[in-house]
């Protein structure tokens, strides 16, 4: 299945803002995070602290992704 990944803020110092991943059916959001941790070790601190969202709703890491879903990796907020 194909998943669109979007990252923000400091994560863009390490990863492309948006990209697609081909994943096996049944892959969870946490497994995507683990894959990114392996590929981008310099981003480990912020990747581990980031929240995950699918289709604009926060999800737990155990969420099982579906084909064509849009996974957002959201670093800790620093608004205000």
């Amino acid at each position: 299945m194909k998943i669109k990944i979007q990252v923000f803020a400091a994560l863009k110092d390490y990863l492309d803002p948006q990209f697609y991943l081909e994943l096996q059916d049944g892959t969870t959001a946490n497994e995507v995070r683990s894959q990114l941790l392996t590929e981008y070790p310099m981003a480990e601190n912020i990747l581990r602290k980031s929240k995950l969202a699918v289709n604009d709703c926060f999800v737990e890491g155990t969420y099982t992704l579906k084909d064509n879903e849009h996974l957002l990796i959201i670093p800790p907020s620093s608004g205000g």
């Binding site: 803020a9 602290k49 907020s77 205000g80």
Partner: protein, 145 residues
């Protein structure tokens, strides 16, 4: 009114929308850009935002504030993009019959917006460098709900 804007926030206009005949207290909080951060001179801030979720989250925070506090009006607007020194980055206005509720609700809203809305500040310093702000790490502590 907009919850997120790229334009300067019009404090007077926003305040004028907060008046309510039942309100004896109207509290306005303006989060403004300092000219210094961690002993360094700041030129300006740039706010990145994921607007679809930020709007949804701020809307939920405001709706929840009405259920937790005796409010007549609650308004919030966060600016994004480049924000200069002394300009408002975020404004929260709460109107209640009495000041205790207006102050408490205002604090509740700004604390949650700062920590939950997907908005990120980047500080641009006078020495030409810049870095992402890190005023919150939501996984390290709990916020009052």
């Amino acid at each position: 009114m907009n919850l997120i804007t790229e334009d300067p926030i019009d404090l007077i206009k926003m305040f004028s929308e907060a008046h309510d005949p039942k309100a004896g207290a109207v509290v306005l909080f303006s989060g403004e850009v300092r000219n210094h951060s961690h002993k360094r001179d700041v030129d300006y801030l740039f706010y990145e935002c994921y607007v679809p979720m930020a709007e949804k989250i701020i809307k939920e925070i405001i709706e929840t504030s009405y259920t937790k506090f005796k409010l007549h009006k609650a308004l919030c607007c966060h600016r994004i993009g480049k924000v200069g020194i002394s300009e408002s980055a975020v404004v929260v206005i709460t109107a209640s019959s009495h000041r205790e509720e207006a102050y408490a609700a205002n604090r509740y809203i700004i604390d949650r917006v700062k920590h939950e809305a997907p908005i990120w500040k980047q500080e641009f310093f006078s020495d030409g460098t810049h870095e992402w702000g890190h005023n919150c790490s939501c996984f390290d502590h709990q916020h009052i709900q």
